[in-house]
């Protein structure tokens, strides 16, 4: 499927056969290391410049390590920088993002698990069409729903609020979580489910006792995916939030784009790292499980 990122050391790769000489191995390693530097460069720029006074950056020292190490840009970005109209720093917006992400991820994952279970173990006429419709919903350009969604949130009384954002992310997250669980449960032996049915186990008993205990790997994949997508979203945040309900990405953009006063690059970089930290941490801590879970779910490339 579209979301394949699966790689393993499972062995039977093409290069079991390819032999490379010492000279070409030298070239290969050099190239690989150069590309490591390329991918790390922006991260390096963000980190070192968030730790130096503004004057060092303005003097053309962006690539240099800080002369006078300072944490003031971090403190400013967190609690006192001008974001939009108020000088609150990014802290309240970081909290908004947390409040938005946690319920949206939890609910969409649970719904995805139930949907995947129905679509694979309780199949009915037209289930492929239902799945296809859910799936296509993941890929539409969201510009197509912005106008009616703005109205609908108003009608529901949750326009410009964090619950409104939770609702939007939930609705457009269902497709992906269903996709993950469906592909995973498809591999799960249906005979086990049949046997439990004959023994008189009901719909939810089977789900709780048989499906859920083996759903760990795909739940991890789904949670990481949804967390990253929802935390990183900008379009919905910019469209459907008010000043006091903006998520982190929108606040960071306001901080960086604000045209008043001196451009505090060091504060911008510190803010950017703050916005990046949650997803980076998830990736570094749980990235391995993500790849492993994708393999287990046979989400093919």
């Amino acid at each position: 499927m579209a979301t394949a990122a699966a790689t393993t050391n499972a062995g039977a790769g093409a290069t079991q056969v390819i032999r490379t000489g010492a000279g070409s191995r030298y070239v290969i390693y050099t190239l690989l290391i150069l590309f490591c530097l390329y991918y790390l460069l922006p991260l390096y720029v963000m980190v070192v410049n968030s730790l130096k006074p503004l004057s060092e950056i303005q003097a053309g020292g962006m690539m240099a390590l800080p002369d006078a190490l300072t944490f003031a840009p971090w403190a400013s970005a967190w609690s006192s920088a001008q974001v939009g109209v108020e000088a609150t720093g990014l802290r309240p917006y970081f909290l908004n993002s947390i409040l938005m992400v946690v319920p949206a991820v939890a609910i969409s994952t649970v719904l995805g698990a139930l949907n995947g279970y129905v679509l694979t173990k309780w199949r009915f006429r037209g289930d492929t069409i239902v799945f296809g419709l859910l799936l296509f919903g993941c890929f539409i350009p969201f510009q197509m729903v912005l106008i009616p969604m703005a109205r609908m949130l108003g009608l529901m009384g949750i326009a410009g609020t964090v619950p409104g954002l939770i609702f939007v992310h939930l609705v457009y997250g269902i497709g992906f979580s269903t996709l993950y669980f469906r592909n995973y449960y498809q591999q799960f032996p249906t005979e086990l489910v049949r046997a439990a049915m004959i023994d008189g186990a009901g719909f939810f008993t089977i789900f709780r006792r048989i499906m859920l205990p083996s759903s760990g790997p795909i739940a991890v994949v789904c949670v990481i995916w949804q967390f990253t997508n929802i935390w990183n979203d900008f379009l919905f945040g910019a469209s459907f939030s008010d000043f006091d309900s903006q998520p982190m990405t929108v606040a960071l953009n306001n901080l960086v784009q604000s045209s008043t006063g001196v451009k505090e690059y060091n504060v911008h970089f510190a803010g950017a790292i703050m916005a990046a930290l949650p997803t980076l941490l998830v990736y570094i801590v749980a990235g391995r499980f993500f790849v492993r879970g994708l393999m287990a779910g046979s989400v093919k490339g």
């Binding site: 190239l31 720029v45 350009p141 197509m144 609908m152 609705v171 950017a272 990046a276 570094i284 490339g301």
Partner: protein
């Protein structure tokens, strides 16, 4: 207990067993029907109306579409998405494939290197945009740095130039996604059967010929997936442009997504905005529908 009573209870249990799964699925399905397909119909309808600052339901026929296609701003946006999309897909695929092949040579610390190549994918485009915006800024970024190292005539001001700014979007977007494409190709490489290769090698084929003739042709499914994912991301690109260039200088880096947003919400031309969103949906559907169709049919 009579026979009819038992069969009645069994009947009810059967009925429940039949209905319960659909009942569980129905809230999700209803949400998607309304909020995806209902909304698509609504926006599609709006594209034929005289909506300005608010939705209005006076039909005006194809007027919004003819206006849209006569607008210079839309022309620029379409041209930009074509330039950006084709370069983005091409460079990501070439770079991703090259890195995958290099990483597939029994490399020490492969997992570590892979992590470094892939981490940009975890970042928000707003973060990526911020980092590259200041790194490419001639006043403080690369140009200023190289000059401070002594090469005083060095120039790199693409981000400030109307002609070149669109390429800075390519640079940042490729940085963010190429590692992901690498992972897709690496997964493909790991799935290749090496019996054929052994045979070819015994016949004296060079490494280069092995890759060109045997390995790369077998990566077709990975190429397909990469193309679909990247094309769909290119058409939807919004955040990166906002963070990196804001659509500027002037309107030099406007894409359809930024065009739609500004016409709908800041210029109060909702009818035209809806028409542009409809065109975006058509473009994505043209790519996604055949792909999803073949995927779903294969899996049956």
């Amino acid at each position: 207990m009579s026979v009819s009573e038992i069969s009645g209870r069994a009947g009810r249990a059967d009925w429940l067993r039949d209905v319960l799964p659909k009942l569980v699925l129905s809230p999700s399905f209803a949400l998607v029907l309304i909020f995806v397909y209902g909304f698509i119909v609504f926006t599609f309808y709006l594209s034929f109306t005289d909506s300005r600052i608010l939705p209005s339901f006076g039909l005006v026929g194809w007027q919004n579409y003819t206006r849209l296609f006569s607008l210079r701003a839309w022309d620029i946006a379409v041209k930009n998405v074509l330039i950006f999309g084709s370069l983005y897909i091409l460079i990501c695929c070439v770079l991703g494939l090259a890195l995958a092949i290099l990483l597939d040579q029994k490399i020490r610390a492969e997992g570590f290197i892979r992590t470094i190549y892939l981490y940009p994918m975890a970042l928000s485009f707003i973060v990526t945009g911020t980092a590259w915006k200041w790194f490419l800024d001639p006043g403080i970024g690369l140009e200023a740095v190289v000059r401070s190292w002594g090469w005083t005539s060095f120039e790199f001001d693409w981000i400030k130039s109307s002609d070149m700014a669109i390429y800075t979007i390519v640079i940042a977007a490729v940085w963010q996604t190429s590692g992901f494409v690498m992972a897709m190709f690496l997964a493909g490489l790991r799935g290749i059967d090496n019996e054929v290769m052994k045979a070819a090698q015994i016949d004296g084929a060079s490494n280069w010929a092995l890759y060109r003739r045997i390995v790369i042709p077998q990566l077709r499914p990975a190429f397909m997936s990469a193309f679909v994912v990247l094309a769909h991301m290119a058409i939807k690109s919004y955040d990166l442009i906002i963070a990196l260039t804001g659509g500027g200088p002037g309107t030099a880096t406007e894409l359809p997504a930024t065009f739609m947003y500004s016409y709908t919400f800041t210029r109060n031309q909702m009818g035209i905005g809806a028409a542009s969103a409809t065109i975006m949906l058509m473009a994505i559907a043209a790519i996604m529908v055949p792909y999803l169709w073949s995927e779903l049919r294969e899996k049956k």
